[in-house]
Amino acid sequence: MMPVTWVLLLSAFLFSVGVYGVLARRNAVLILMSIEVMLTAVNINLVAFNAMLKDVEMMGQIFALFIITIAAAEIGVGLAIVILIYRNRTTVTVDEVSLMKW
């Protein structure tokens, strides 16, 4: 037996670290990495709730599986966009890619 709050606090910490990474980093690939950390934090929460509620339908684990799949799709498309930006602008610094910013 283990209090579920320990797991929840860990995932809340990981999520906030991911938020910091997204806000403070300039390199687009590092921002993608921080997004992965945030998604992992969410998955930990879902799996912990699945174990806590003893769900026989395994809703939490199935949702975590879907999130992992969609994260893989997201990282593929995201990196393709980053490489395209690098090819056109020779930089992946998000501050310098502001053409469509108001």
């Binding site: 670290v17 690939v29 992992t40 998955n43 699945n50 806590m52 003893k54 393709a80």
Partner: protein
């Protein structure tokens, strides 16, 4: 026993995550991300989700980290703090700290005293059964989404003739 394993993995993950967002070298950042994801896989297995844990190892550690390392190598990111971080670091830390304080307060209030029972059995057999009966439509939709992402990534990264 489970508690001690969890605390050790959790502390390692927290340190790796903090190093990931503060490191000056992008390749080190990718390796710290690897550590966070491997720790998450270990926690999934600890929390009776073996299948999700191994999918995490295969998909994240096997594919996503390698893809990110390729991205880093192909884009030749500069090394150094000023090149990697922007000027609003303090503001970002404030926002992240506020999010952590708020979510942890709410979560502790809502779920204080609830326990995870490690003696239950959640088998891969039931997971597969539910996935291919009740959730078969979302499963198929996700496979179409993956195909669309694959085609999209190829089209984006292809050189124009």
């Amino acid at each position: 026993m489970h508690q001690y394993v969890f605390v050790v993995i959790g502390v390692l993950m927290a340190i790796a995550a903090v190093r990931l967002v503060t490191t000056k070298n992008v390749v080190h950042g990718a390796l710290y991300l690897l550590m966070v994801l491997a720790g998450a896989a270990a926690i999934f297995i600890l929390l009776l989700a073996e299948f999700v844990g191994w999918v995490q190892v295969l998909l994240y550690i096997g594919a996503v980290v390698v893809l990110l390392l390729f991205g880093l190598m192909l884009t030749r990111a500069p090394i150094g703090r000023t090149a990697l971080d922007n000027q609003s670091r303090a503001l970002a830390a404030l926002v992240a700290g506020a999010i952590f304080a708020m979510t942890s307060m709410v979560l502790v209030r809502a779920f204080d005293g609830q326990m995870i029972d490690f003696s239950q059995t959640l088998t891969v057999r039931t997971l597969g059964g539910v996935l291919f009966t009740k959730y078969v439509l979302p499963f198929e939709v996700v496979s179409v989404l993956l195909l669309a992402a694959l085609v999209g990534a190829v089209v984006l990264a292809k050189r124009d003739e």
